[in-house]
Symmetry: C2
Subunit: 492 residues, 2 copies
């Protein structure tokens, strides 16, 4: 493992990836799915060496890492199955109408991979959103060779994962250029890759600053390329008065559990909680305080994240009208000691700093006096990955406008739940309006994530023999297809 | 009709569009489809006033305009039907698994419109890609209010079409802000709109220069927004030796017909024809010359296009190795007199100017000596809307690599056909890698074009009563949905 891959070595990886491209591109969806299952098997087979190494590198506990390993395996397998079923990249066929005037051609639409994809992994999910994470799985599913810029916070983990992927590729009999990995703790390697003419798309999970810089770089290229950056969010939670009254204590515990899960190091961490100013609020705050103070300070991923957490937290605490209502005493260094503050909606509305993400177990209670103030705060939010409503059935009818506003702000809207925990499923949308992500029309999680790295292509009047398998009359891959206006698995 | 809409009036249109947004957004897909059918009826009902006005403004003949009017009506109706069937914006439902550890939530993914869409119409399709064209139909289908920047080459046509759309909106009982139109012959109005914080997406059909300028402007915004620019192409046609031998004369006539259709003013005009250097070539060129010389010069759309045509044509003719093989004598001013030139592949490969689009009835024959040279030219092309192969069944097997290269270059690949004529269908992909378009993952034609202007949203654990109609258990809209892994119209 090189500590810093040289530019010369990176160029070699790009050339190898480009040589592998036509080979991978011409594997049909069943063959690519088989490759993905081989890679999944390799990741699953990684034993304690993996989780122990990662725990040393990230301070994440073994149980969490075992769970994340299983999730990562599930991502590869479920994306493979969605691909193989024809569901993830939906095929369209319009049959010819030669007697129409003018004659209607036979048109069949499938997909081609974009080309080499560069993936920037995240530090907070060393498996599920890193070297072998959803971006890599999606891109390979689409038929794109991948070059990962390994996250410098867990290089040994990245190397182990990269080797597992390479073994899967070898077992599938595919060229090693299908996957490459670059190690670097500076920006030069990433910038070189994103600027490279043979690179055709980028996946990124991380900060707004990092994601936006790559987006700008990619947009300024002679041939602009898409950047799918998932850049986090404050994930506002809206607690309505009836629900506070009926379930305040229970929700206090659930909120603190969600806020502090994984030391708050999730992009779906619920950083802002809207609460009504009424007679039930003091007890609710008491319950929050009690729940928070039971949370032991736990080490964060690395020193840089811990430093930023403390700095950003202090910055919020120093704003006008912000009152600290609960905190856990700091432990050893790099520990993420949770804290909770309170501020009135009027202060929140007039101070943009309060709506900025603090990455870590830090929550802001924003107290609202009436529905108008609640709506004003809802309107103020930028694009979000998620928004959550805590609400009684009886009162929801009065808050239609709130729901309506939130649907324009987020990619996922939760009813009586907290946003941590991102299910890997077809119906998941992980991504929201800017700045939550750079392209809200695609999800970073679930089989539909494959669509980011493929583009449609229409075959006009080709005979059956020369069509890709997924478009042939007999439907030899037994996939779902739209034929004229209907979905079917039937042959033509 | 204002000749130049003031910035103050444009701001008012934006505010009206924003007020209309929540109203349109909350109409379900069936209601939006009904609106689109009302608009289609209004466009269909426009009589000779429309076509005569347009013919005066564009020099296009009445028969062509009547055909384009019918096509435009079909676009509104077929996109409406695709929307109402649930096919154009495919819904995904994953049902809950409460017994799983951790419990799997109920997730249902539908779509929300992006917000106000600004559409820049094209001059060459005054109906189908202009005020009431595919971008406007797609955006309204998605639930987005639209503001059109009318093309200055046909302002009276744009006004008539805008009034028809407005009547449809009024008959549907929707606010007038659903559609607005701006008239301007400068850049200020368009730049103001694309920079406006309330505008969330842009559709454009026109030149590379114009499309790229809007793309850059949109990428530099504080909140970047997507620009779907369809910017044209040289649409290379590859004639293979066996086919030249068997069908040269017939193909010569068909090529000239496609090249000169509509005075060559189509984004799918086949500007480059690859031909083998062999004993059949002289007869083929003779047939091309004969066919071309039968084409009468016809006025182009406007003086600016005619001036550019003559200038760009002369520029190509002046390049090293370019030989004029046929041309039609110029007629009156602004006429697009067709011309055909020939150049060797080695010249084409070493001179980027020869691969630039000449908008009009101008073709370049590129002669290749062997398959290696043919492949080298294929590799040289930038992103294209289309690529076409003219080939015999017996020889296609030897040209697998050519097909493979072309699938990485274009959005539509034709077998034994010419690219003019863009079928409005699900399986149509109209859009290709940059610079053919700015986002190759979406089509500008067919019901799937609606996907450009909507983004997915997941509802997590919402009760049936509060879900949008398309996600309710009973499937009240009777649409196709993915439930877990299968497509079905069944209820849950």
């Amino acid at each position: 493992m090189e500590i810093n891959t040289t530019i010369q070595s990176i160029e070699k990886l790009v050339q190898e990836a480009q040589s592998a491209f036509p080979v991978l591109k011409n594997k049909n969806i069943k063959e690519r799915a088989a490759l993905m299952h081989l890679i999944a098997d390799e990741i699953e087979a990684l034993g304690e060496e993996l989780t122990k190494t990662t725990s040393e590198e990230t301070n994440l506990p073994l149980a969490r890492l075992q769970g994340e390993q299983a999730r990562t395996v599930f991502q590869w397998r479920s994306y493979a199955d969605g691909l193989a079923a024809g569901t993830a990249l939906p095929v369209r066929i319009d049959t010819a109408a030669p007697d129409r005037n003018p004659p209607k051609p036979d048109l069949r639409k499938s997909y081609v991979p974009l080309g080499i994809v560069v993936v920037f992994g995240a530090s907070n999910f060393p498996y599920a959103y890193s070297t072998a994470g959803g971006d890599t799985a999606s891109a390979i599913a689409a038929g794109c060779p991948v070059i990962v810029k390994a996250h410098p916070a867990h290089p040994r983990t990245s190397a182990i994962m990269g080797q597992a992927i390479a073994r899967g590729i070898r077992k599938a009999g595919l060229p090693s250029g299908v996957f490459g990995q670059v190690f670097s703790d500076g920006f030069e390697a990433g910038n070189f890759l994103v600027s490279h003419p043979l690179v055709k798309a980028v996946g990124f999970t991380g900060s707004l600053t990092g994601g936006k810089a790559l987006f700008d770089l990619a947009a300024r290229r002679q041939e602009p390329i898409p950047v799918f950056a998932e850049m986090g969010s404050v994930n506002p939670v809206f607690l309505l008065p009836g629900k506070l009254k009926s379930s305040g204590e229970e929700l206090a515990g659930q909120y603190i559990a969600s806020l502090t899960l994984g030391v708050g190091q999730f992009c779906t961490n619920p950083g802002v909680l809207m609460v009504p100013e009424n007679e039930y609020l003091p007890d609710f705050i008491g319950a929050l305080r009690e729940a928070l103070q039971k949370i032991a300070p736990v080490p964060m991923l690395h020193q840089g994240i811990a430093n930023n957490y403390q700095k950003n937290k202090q910055r919020i605490i120093g704003q006008v009208g912000v009152e600290l209502i609960a905190s856990v005493a700091p432990g050893e260094k790099i520990q993420g000691n949770p804290a909770l503050v309170k501020v009135k909606a009027q202060n929140f509305l007039s101070n943009d700093v309060l709506a900025e993400e603090v990455f870590g177990p830090f929550g802001i209670l924003v107290t609202y006096s009436d529905q108008q103030e609640l709506l004003a705060v809802a309107r103020k939010f930028n694009g979000q990955l998620t928004a959550s409503l805590l609400v009684n059935d009886e009162e929801l009818g009065q808050y239609g406008e709130l729901v309506d506003i939130l649907t324009t702000k987020c990619g996922r809207i939760l009813h009586n739940g907290f946003p941590t925990g991102v299910e890997v499923a077809y119906a998941m949308q992980h991504g929201g309006p800017f700045p939550a992500s750079t392209d809200s029309r695609f999800s970073a999680v679930g089989p539909d994530a494959i669509q980011r790295f493929a583009r449609p292509i229409s075959y006009q009047n080709w005979s059956d023999e020369w069509l890709p398998d997924e478009l042939k009359n007999s439907n030899p891959l037994d996939i779902w297809r739209t034929i004229n206006t209907e979905y079917t698995k039937e042959p033509i």
